[in-house]
Symmetry: C2
Subunit: 410 residues, 2 copies
């Protein structure tokens, strides 16, 4: 492991000085190579699919695993789109001259060596590789074991393309020991690795966070709320609530709890129930909710659960303060929305709720690098530090200060 | 410990919404209270001084510990200066409108609860408290045990001032259990604590980094190099080298190793030796250096040592590439300088050396929040993430995205 990481670290300085032109050419060659080698990749993917069948993977997981020519074309297209992004390295973030004439530039630079730990979908392998490469970072990738054969084939194709361009294959590689022990070692190698990004289940993320000495940017759970304030536009509020819950219930920016003002509960809850019934959403409610509509009880535990399913807890509150207090207690700091036409209530909510993204009159489903206009998404950070919320490619850079003097001493 | 931290976290939301006007008024009251209570603080400081004498603390440590009226006035003045800084919370860092009309603002907000672990000097207690308060963060302070009585007196004065303004004293407090075990607990409390800043010796920082589950911004060692390129202005280079080493040898931005181009070594090394001899600097050199001037051998270990003393290793190199390679191997990523009039050499060095601050023709001693113009310094980060190099008060904030919609759904 240590020799492997030494090579990775040594490769980082080569990569940091490549021009955008070279990086983009290499990325386009990688995209071509993926398409040209799709038969090989599909062949290896078949092994994973067969293994998945033997292990009775769910049909959802099997679908995420599956690759065919059009999916590989989409992977290649994603790499080309990453190549087309604005160069993230060398941006002058700030610049000024000190009183004694030092000219200081704060400039974006690559982070160094980044370890990305993720699950099943093999397209993440090429996405993560391209995002790291474009931002000048060496990528150490550790995918799910269900996709091991597919990931190895994809990585081999990418490494061959790197070598054909005269670049070391250490720039993009799969972690050689992908076991739990291998990961446990990797996350303690702060001498060689500059950042770990774990994407996956709560257990994986907790394990990485608790054991890493390398800095971690987590992609943790989203327990998101939508609060319908008494001054909301009722029809719009129902549309947003349905969208936030039902458009894709299994993702982190979907709503898990709906909060409704007591003053409008009698009018709104039956309308909401009708709309959610049409989407076959399972509804649970607190006492006040149960007095108005016929739903099962939402327990303390329900309000604390990220369902990742078409299930919704409902809570009735007195006012915006109680809504904010509920979110403070149960929210995961991911995405929270207020629906209202009341200016002061909206501003209070936006200012006082501590979350990566706070919305007024929109669906929490927009918390996403693509929807934010970042072009390609690294993920959604639930960290408070370094990067928070949707992460674009610029979040894979750090900075240095360049200081230009003319002989200044202290 | 858990109840104490729960209170701290609860207090964070109060503090996050205070206006700059209120925060500044409170900070000025704290400054007044420090001056008004200087007799009390000095009385407690005497206990620490007596204890220090019993424990045979060095005169340097005793001097750092000592407080009198003028030093307390300086502490109060530092708090007033922090109050006068530009409000760090609520800055709009970026803003844009997405294609579907969502208006997104990226806004600076407090981080939350910050634990700061530091050593001996009691003025750090009021400095750190004021920096955290101004940036809207709850401060949990853990000073050195040598200064325990002084720190307790200072914290008590600050807390009384907070309570007189109707604010909870949990906003600024000393960690109740300041033992190693207490620190070990604190740094695992990621449920309540958002950031740990350790400032101190290598052992403390390693302990915190290896055991924390809370994110850490380190203030680690500085093994800084100055490289005299063959096209340097020789007189200026000598002045800068002397300044970088001798002006204050015990600090992290002082030079530890001087690198000299082989083409100018015969001319420069004797001049440098004369200048350093006048400053009583102990010089060590590699083989090539020893052939030109009479100095002891610099070992592999010397090149890897942060002396924090008036000692300097000298290395002769062929060219800028070898200088960069040496810095890559031994540098700590803190501050590195090239002295040259050669444009390409300067740019190559600035671009390829990976350090928080890279200089051309200036002393590394300028790596400092004050010298950078940040007004007050939180410290100097040797992290690559969140904050790198001199940290100003803005580095004690994170951000949220405020998203203004008009009914948008996906």
């Amino acid at each position: 492991m240590e020799n492997y990481l030494k090579e990775a670290k040594a490769a980082a300085s080569t990569l940091a000085t490549l021009s955008g032109e070279v990086k983009n050419r290499v990325l386009n060659k990688i995209a071509d190579a993926l398409v040209e080698n799709s038969a090989l990749i599909i062949e290896h993917n078949k092994f994973d699919m067969e293994e998945g069948e033997r292990n009775n993977l769910s049909s959802a997981l099997m679908d995420r695993l599956y690759l065919d020519e059009s999916r590989i074309e989409a992977m290649a297209q994603a790499v080309r789109e990453i190549a087309a992004l604005k160069e993230p390295v060398g941006r002058i973030l700030e610049g000024w001259v000190t009183d004694n004439g030092l000219r200081i530039e704060k400039v974006s630079i690559p982070i160094g060596v980044i370890g990305i730990i993720y699950e099943s979908r093999p397209n993440v392998t090429s996405d993560a590789a391209a995002l790291c490469f474009k931002s000048g970072n060496v990528a150490i990738l550790k995918g799910g074991k269900e996709a091991q054969q597919s990931n190895e084939a994809i990585a081999k194709v990418i490494q061959k393309a790197l070598e054909a361009e005269g670049l070391p294959k250490a720039l993009i590689s799969l972690l050689p020991d992908g076991s739990r022990e291998g990961v446990a070692k990797l996350i303690k190698m702060d001498k060689y690795v500059d950042l770990i990004i774990p994407r996956g289940g709560e257990a994986l993320i907790r394990f990485v966070n608790d054991n890493a000495t390398v800095p971690v940017v987590k992609h943790d759970k989203g327990l998101c709320h939508t609060y319908i304030h008494k001054d909301a536009d009722f029809d719009e509020a129902i549309k947003i609530a349905i969208n936030a819950k039902c458009q894709r219930p299994g993702v982190c920016n979907a709503m898990e709890t709906l909060i409704v003002d007591e003053a409008i509960a009698k009018e709104m809850l039956p309308k909401l129930k009708a709309a959610f019934d049409a989407e076959s959403t399972k509804l649970l409610g607190d006492d006040a909710t149960q007095k108005i509509i016929d739903v099962d009880a939402a327990t303390e535990e329900d309000f604390d659960t990220e369902y990742l399913a078409n299930t919704l807890s409902i809570k009735v509150v007195k006012d915006v303060d109680e809504a904010i207090a509920h979110i403070r207690r149960y929210g995961s700091g991911h995405s929270e929305a207020i629906l209202t036409n009341n200016h002061r209530a909206a501003e209070k909510f936006l200012n006082e709720v501590d979350a990566a993204c706070v919305y007024v009159n929109a669906s929490t489903r927009f918390t996403d690098g693509g929807a934010f206009g970042f072009g390609a998404e690294v993920g959604i950070s639930t960290n408070k530090l370094h990067a928070r919320g949707p992460m674009g490619i610029n979040d894979l850079t750090t900075y240095k200060y360049k200081v230009y003097g003319e002989g200044q001493i202290r």
